[in-house]
Structures are given as structure tokens and as C-alpha cells.
Symmetry: C2
Subunit: 515 residues, 2 copies
């Protein structure tokens, strides 16, 4: 089901049974976004070079503390310097050589037909939110994440074509940690046919998830190693530290040929310098360090340059998102990623505690920063609330509307004799209207974006229908979409093989979750 | 009072008495916006030329119906053709010659110190909402506009430096139409010291408003005619019609040397072709026609190219705002305005009926379209709701927050040895934090934008304080700002002269309001 049909059905009640709209045009533009606008640049080329050089100085003179002995050995074997006290110092030329191995564009194969997504160049993939401890909806409030909540989020994510990749949503805290990756991965693979996320929670858990995904895709082990079908995020422990778990994940993903996004968590004023130039210098140093490890393990391994630089509230230390500083950092990060020929990851974010106006304007500031900055991989595109502490049902739908608006914004506009409409203008003449002209009738069904959430009715009609806010309406749409979900096709033999694998691994005690 | 102090005081209760922050930096950047980003372009140069040529064909072959005999005479005297049935046909070369007289940049002198604002080039002026029949706030609901509501809106507009120009806000329906312009203009001139709006409601009413503004500024009649101190909007009656009232206004403003913004109301699918290229062709033709009239009356008269192209909901005919189509039209309009060397007007808009997430994301889509499209004059920057049928107290504050974020976004970022922060990064080392470093302490007070409305506290603190949404908080801020208002200085002699003038004109019967 395309998002158009889905949500027309959702929203318009009796109109749901009307004949289907043509799908093809929407699918192409919504499933693989192509950003037609040249990226907005925050800095001059000289300023970007200054940030680059400063980050190279950080890598060579200060270095990165690498907590994994295996990763330190890999760095040293590749020509970096062990400076003692777990610190690796980097040779700038070698950093550039290694990073140059990384592909500028990565195609992730989706499990379902038409679900492939390419990131890089002007192509953009969009992910849902992920990693939040809580789930909330306006009726039942905020509560710890459960597998049932994760399942509902999967169901809604499956319904909308502007979502290409599934984030880990909420922590399913009702499943024991050593088995959680089985349950979560199974939900994503059975309730959606989109590109799944793999958490870096130790080599065993990562290998389990990769194996489940390989089985669901029906790939041989060799084919899997050459086919990116999943993605993971490694966060450096800013400033300038890579812990054992992240080092392992970086190496595991590279070995498996699966996409790894290296995202420093550089909050200016807290884990990074208070100045934007300084925070970006630190971000760049950490991102390159982690990406180097990946390219040492497997030159050409698919990776993405992750940016998450934001700032804190200097009065309280609270993290802030979707701020003007965040937007500028996103613009600048695009310039840095392009300097190294890497795809860019950025995010849709807010610090708001409710699915309200603040959640929307902060999300928009981050979306515009990310997408106009040249982002190729948008994380947390839908559902993120409270600075990432909650996945919100209403925010999910509010964000889907905004994503669909961007997908429409990115569609090219035709300028031709036909669209300039001189005949129609002449026919209508002075003071008339265009409602009934043939020029309008030929095009009205697909001329404009048709929203799923926005209410354009007048105040009187809106009041009569209960004066529902966008969040009220989003609540209803979310749970209607959950109820309407139909699981995508999955070969029963593959499902059985996957379940047998999970049963065996569960009997073996699940995964040793590392911290 | 700067917005910073104002709102720090509003928001932080007991913190209001803390020592004042340095004003200068904020004032300069907030009072005169300079957009550092090159404009986003929707079309290629060839496509813009195609739209230009099509609009010239519209003007020469179809023409514009001009309902004012005086305006028709002016057009014919200048070399255009009377095609009969009130229709004027335009010579394309003459159109370009006339429009070339218009200045590319206009400085509007504000009544108060530091209230001048220049529009054109990369400089941007921001206006409040205007022209809505209703006022609403969440406590008292929606009701017809009154002078008291207009006064409150003036008070809040005065408090925030990101507002440079005062819109006509709500219709003061408790004042009789023939006296309303006196009351409204007096409110704006006594409660604010920013650039006022003049409604085109007939030559007499316009002359009255200009006289009041002239007196408040203490200008001689000659000086007034050479000093833009006010602005007006003329909407063409799309498609292709200029009514008597607008023709009069265009000529009155040109004669008086006051800024006139010519804005076609081209809703694609209703008053304009359903295609974006066609709607822009019509917008361009109508804008140039009206601007020509101004330049015929007074070559070099200050004008602005107005864009308002949006689309309707094709199912209901309801106007839609802040849509992807709106954003694209804003980008394209910037290209057209720049082609003619004219400042561009665009708007912050939404069709939402509540100050909710929809109001925020539609407003953002329109702000980004306008500002990244190269807008020089942002109308309806704060307070517009319901597609312009209501001025909302809460939306006003929600929008002010977004405007302040843009003013901060537009501030340049320094890249220097100092801001790259290598010393700070070396000092903090691996896994530390930057809270207490000298590099942070030296900068933390002004490093980041400090919001007036956004709540970045954690969920628990936010819940304890009543779980207020952005709209709830905005309501409180609006009325606290009203209460804290102090009228700006106005020479008592000028006030007396203005009041004497109003008394005399009232005794004469006020203005003959034309329709």
C-alpha cells in the first residue's frame, strides 16, 4: 500500500473506497528522494580547510583514546602511532588515504520490491527514530518501551513510503537484554520490508542480527557480505574516545560489508568546545578516526559521515536540538562530508516534551539544516521527542506529514508551453476563475500535495468537527494505521529458518551483551 | 527594551532583575537582518526567462482590466494601449523600462532610534501579521477584531526587536469605518516606534494616515515626500484586474514617495492556473502591471515585488498555505524579483485553525521558502492564523521565537584559531567535558541563542511545572508582554498636533471610505 492510498483511506472515511490514484509517480519520488537543490554552505572553502586542518592537528597531536586493544592493534598495523595510555595518534596523510577508500554512494537493498534506497550524491534515505527508552501517546501517556510499542511503530513505518529505513525505535524493555535483539530484529523483518537497523551491542548480538537479516533476504553468506542490507550507528564518546563496544561494531560492520554511520555526539559547550568551529573540528576528528578503523578492516566498506553537533542550554546544561546553531552545524557538516567524498548523516530532532508547535518548529529547523545542507541519510526522521528520550505516536505522524512535504518539494517543476498556461490565462481573461477550465480539470488530481494531517478547512467546519489540534488528529491517524497494517510478504521457508535460528540461539543462551 | 531583556524578564521570573546582557550585538543583527546565504533557485535561468516572456505575452496580448479611469489615462499617456472594455495592453519594452526606474533597495525610516530598516539586496525587514477580521487567544477564544486587541498586538510587537514594521493586525470593528484609520494609525504611532502600515482605503483615508505619520515623525511636507516612513500593500484582483481602490492607492503612494508592495493574489487552481509555471506567469504579469503604474506616476517611487502564489485544496477549493508548492513559488519569485532588480516581498503563513504543530510546520515551510528564496520584506511574520482570518496571540509569540531563531541563523560564524579551540580540545583531552574550561567560560553567555518560548527542560521538570505546551506558554508570554509595555517616546507637541489634526478631520466627517 502506498502512503497516498493508506492515508487517503485513513483520513477521508467514506472517500477511502474511491478509485485508487495513480501510484507510479508518487512511488518514485517518495521512495528514493533526489534533492534538486545545491547544498547551502555555511563556510567558505578556506574556512572548511581551516576546520579540516585543525581536526587533523587534533588527530595527530592529541589523538583518540581507543578502548579496544584489537582496534588499537589494527590502527598500529595500518601505520598509526600508539602513544600509550590507550591513545592512538593519527598520520593525517594516512587518514585521507584511508577515508578515500570509502564509497561516495551506497545502495541499501530493501527486502521488499521497490524498497532499495541509495544514499550519496543528491540521493537521500530517511529513517525513523530510534534508541529511545520510552514510548508515548497522548491518551496513555509516557511509559517505558515495550515490544508491543516497537511493533506498532513498525506497522506505521511500513505504511508510509517516505520512510525507507527502520530505526530501532524504543527499547523493548519487557524482553531480557540477551534476547532483545532477536525480538526486535524479528519484528522489523516481519512487520516491514524496509532496511533494518542493527544495534552495536557486542559481536555476538550483531552477528545474530546479521544472520536473521541474511536469512530474511534469502542471501548466501558470500552475497550478504557484498550486499548492504542494514545499517548501524557508532557514536564516539566525545571528546576523543572510542569505547570497546563501538570499536567492535565498527569492525564487525566493516567485515560484514554492512553500512556503518560514525556519529560523534558533539554537544557544543558540554562534550565539545562552546564555539561552532571548535565543535565541528572535534566532530570531524572523531568521525574520521572511526571511519579510518572501518577502512582499515575492509577498504571500501560502506560508511557514512555522521553529524550530530548541537548545543546545550548554558544555564542548565540541558541538550538543545533544532536550534540555529544546530542548523548551521548541519550546513557545515555537509561541506565537510563532501570534502572527503562521503555520504552525510544528519537528523530530525527536537527537545520539546510534547507534540506541539515547539516540536514542529525545532524539527523543521533541523530538517532544513539537514536536507538543505546536503544530508544523504536522515536519521530520526519521524517520531523523536524529548531530545530522544521518547518515541511519540503523534510526533511520528506529524513528522510523516513534514517528510511528505519535503518529498514533494524535491519533485521537479515543469516549465513548458503547456504548464505556462497562456491559453488558459487567455480563456479565463480578467477577473474570472480557473476552477472549471480544461487546463485545471486535466491536472487537478495530481497538481498539488494532498496532506494526511494538515486540516485546511475553515474555522467553522473545524470547530464543528471538534476543534482537533494536529496532535489530536495525529493520534487518531497513528492508531488507525496500526489497525490497518498488513504484514508484507515473507517467504514462509525463510521465516521458519529464521525462527529456527532464533530458537537455537536462544537455547544457547542468547547473546552476551557487552557494555 | 531589547527583546532579549524583555523576554528574559518575561520568562525567568526572578532572573529578570539580573544584570543586563550586552545589547549591541543583538540589536544590530536582530534589527536589520542580513541574509548571508545565496538564494535557493527553483528554476534555471532559461526557465525564468520563459516565465518572463510568457508574462510579457499576457501583458501585451491579453492585458489587464484597469477599473480606474485615471489609471487608464496614466497608462495610455505613458505609451500603453487602451484596448477597450477597460483593458490596457502593455508594451513589453516599455514595461521593462518603467520597472527599471524602481530602486533596488529602500530604506524605511523608523520613528524610534535604531528603527530604520532597509529592504533589498541581502537585507530583510520583518512585519507582523495584518488585515485579519478576527483576534483570538486560547482563553477567550476567537472574536471580531477590536481596537483594544489591535492595541495589545501593537504592545507586543513593540517588545521584540525582530519585528521591524507594524502590520495592520486586526480590523478594529468597534470603530466606525470612516474613522477607523485615525484610531488604528494613532495606536501604531503611540504604542510603537516602528514603521507603520497604511491601508489603501481611498485617497482621503490614505492622505489622513500619511499626515498623521508625517506629524509623528516631525517631517516637513517636502521631507516626507522624499522619506519612506510607511508601507502599503496593493493586491491585484487576480486574474488580471486592478480595481479602483488599488489603482488609487498605487498612485497615492507613488505621489507621496511611500513604499508600495504590489502583491497578486494568485492561488493556483482558483484565481491562477493550476500549474506552478502558469501561476507564476500570472503573478509576474500582474505585479509588473501594478509596478508600472507606480513608476509612471513617479519614476523611482519605492516599491516591492510581491509574491503570494499558493495553491488551493482541489477537493474543496479552500486556500492552502505553507505547502510544498508555496515554498517552490517563493524560491521562484525571488528569481523573478531579482531579474527586475526589485526587492521581494513574501510571507509567513498557515491554514491551521489552532496554534499547534500544523501552524508551526506550515509557517516554517513558508519562512524557509521566503527567506532562502531571497525575500527582503517578510509580511505576516508573526501572528497569522487560519489563512489570515485571525491574528492569534499565541501564534504571535510562537512566530517571534522562530523569527529570533532566523535572526540568529543569519549571524556570521567566526572561524579563527580562537574559535577552532585547539587549546581547549587539548586541555580537556579524552572523555572529559568542556563545561568548566576557560574557553567555555569566556563565551557561554552569548555563545548560543537563548529562547523565549522553547522549553528544553527534561520531561520530569516540565511535567512538574504543569506540562504546558508551547501554545500554553505563548499565551502567558503574550499577556505578560502586554502588561509590561511602556510606550516609546513621542514628542508631546507632535502628539498634540496629531490629535488636533484627527479632531479636525473627525469634525469634517472623517474619510469617505471607498470600496
Amino acid at each position: 500500500m502506498t502512503a497516498t492510498q493508506q492515508t487517503t483511506g485513513r483520513r477521508r472515511g467514506r472517500m477511502a473506497k474511491r478509485k485508487r490514484q495513480p501510484e507510479a509517480a508518487f512511488d518514485a519520488a517518495w521512495r528514493q528522494w533526489r534533492n534538486p537543490y545545491p547544498p547551502i554552505e555555511q563556510f567558505s572553502a578556506d574556512e572548511i580547510e581551516a576546520i579540516h586542518r585543525a581536526s587533523m592537528t587534533v588527530l595527530s597531536d592529541i589523538g583518540v583514546r581507543v578502548l579496544s586493544a584489537e582496534a588499537r592493534r589494527a590502527f598500529v598495523a595500518a601505520g598509526m602511532t600508539d602513544a600509550g595510555d590507550q591513545v592512538i595518534r593519527f598520520d593525517p596523510d594516512l587518514v585521507e588515504t584511508l577515508v578515500a577508500h570509502a564509497p561516495p554512494e551506497v545502495t541499501l537493498r530493501g527486502r521488499g520490491a521497490g524498497r532499495d534506497v541509495t544514499i550519496g550524491g543528491n540521493k537521500v534515505g530517511v529513517c525513523t527514530t530510534g534508541g529511545t527508552p520510552n514510548f508515548s501517546d497522548m491518551k496513555h501517556g509516557r511509559r517505558p518501551g515495550t515490544l508491543a510499542a516497537l511493533d506498532d511503530l513498525c506497522r506505521v513505518a511500513q505504511a508510509f513510503d517516505v520512510i525507507h529505513m527502520i530505526g530501532p525505535f524504543v527499547e523493548a524493555q519487557d524482553v531480557p537484554p540477551h534476547l532483545r535483539h532477536f525480538a526486535m530484529t524479528r519484528s522489523v523483518l516481519t512487520l516491514t520490508d524496509k532496511v533494518p537497523f542493527v544495534f552495536f551491542r557486542g559481536t555476538q548480538a550483531v552477528a545474530d542480527a546479521y544472520e536473521m537479516i541474511r536469512i530474511a533476504h534469502g542471501l548466501s553468506r558470500d552475497a550478504f557480505a557484498d550486499t548492504p542490507v542494514s545499517y548501524s550507528v557508532a557514536n564516539s564518546n566525545s571528546p576523543l574516545q572510542l569505547d570497546n563496544l563501538m570499536c567492535r561494531g565498527i569492525m564487525d560492520a566493516a567485515s560484514a560489508g554492512q553500512l556503518m554511520v560514525l556519529t560523534p555526539f558533539t554537544l557544543a559547550g558540554a562534550m565539545a568546545p562552546v564555539t561552532l568551529a571548535g565543535a565541528l573540528t572535534l566532530q570531524n576528528a572523531e568521525a574520521l578516526a572511526g571511519l579510518c578503523l572501518s577502512q582499515i578492516v575492509r577498504p571500501g566498506a560502506p560508511v557514512c559521515y555522521g553529524s550530530f553537533t548541537s548545543n546545550v542550554d548554558m544555564k542548565t546544561g540541558a541538550p538543545a536540538f533544532g536550534t540555529p546553531e544546530y542548523t548551521k552545524a548541519a550546513f557545515a557538516s555537509g561541506q565537510l562530508a563532501r570534502r572527503y567524498g562521503l555520504p552525510l548523516r544528519s537528523s530530525g530532532v527536537t527537545a520539546s516534551n510534547a507534540p506541539d508547535a515547539q516540536a514542529a518548529y525545532e524539527h523543521q529547523m533541523s530538517l532544513w539544516g539537514a536536507l538543505m545542507g546536503g544530508t544523504n541519510l536522515l536519521l530520526h526522521g519521524a517520531g523523536w521527542l524529548e531530545g530522544g528520550l521518547t518515541a511519540s505516536a503523534e510526533k511520528f505522524i506529524i513528522d510523516i506529514e513534514q517528510l511528505q512535504m519535503f518529498a514533494e518539494l524535491f519533485k521537479p517543476v515543469e516549465v513548458s508551453n503547456d504548464t505556462l498556461g497562456l491559453e488558459a490565462i487567455a480563456d479565463v481573461g480578467h477577473g474570472g476563475h480557473f476552477f472549471g477550465t480544461q487546463h485545471t480539470l486535466d491536472r487537478f488530481e495530481t497538481a498539488f500535495y494532498s496532506p494526511i494531517l494538515s486540516d485546511w478547512s475553515n474555522y467553522e467546519s473545524w470547530s464543528e468537527r471538534g476543534a482537533l489540534t494536529a496532535a489530536d488528529r495525529a493520534h487518531r491517524i497513528f492508531f488507525q494505521t496500526v489497525a490497518a497494517h498488513e504484514p508484507p510478504t515473507l517467504d514462509p521457508a525463510r521465516l521458519e529458518e529464521m525462527d529456527d535460528f532464533v530458537a537455537r540461539r536462544t537455547a544457547e543462551g542468547g547473546a552476551d551483551i557487552e557494555r
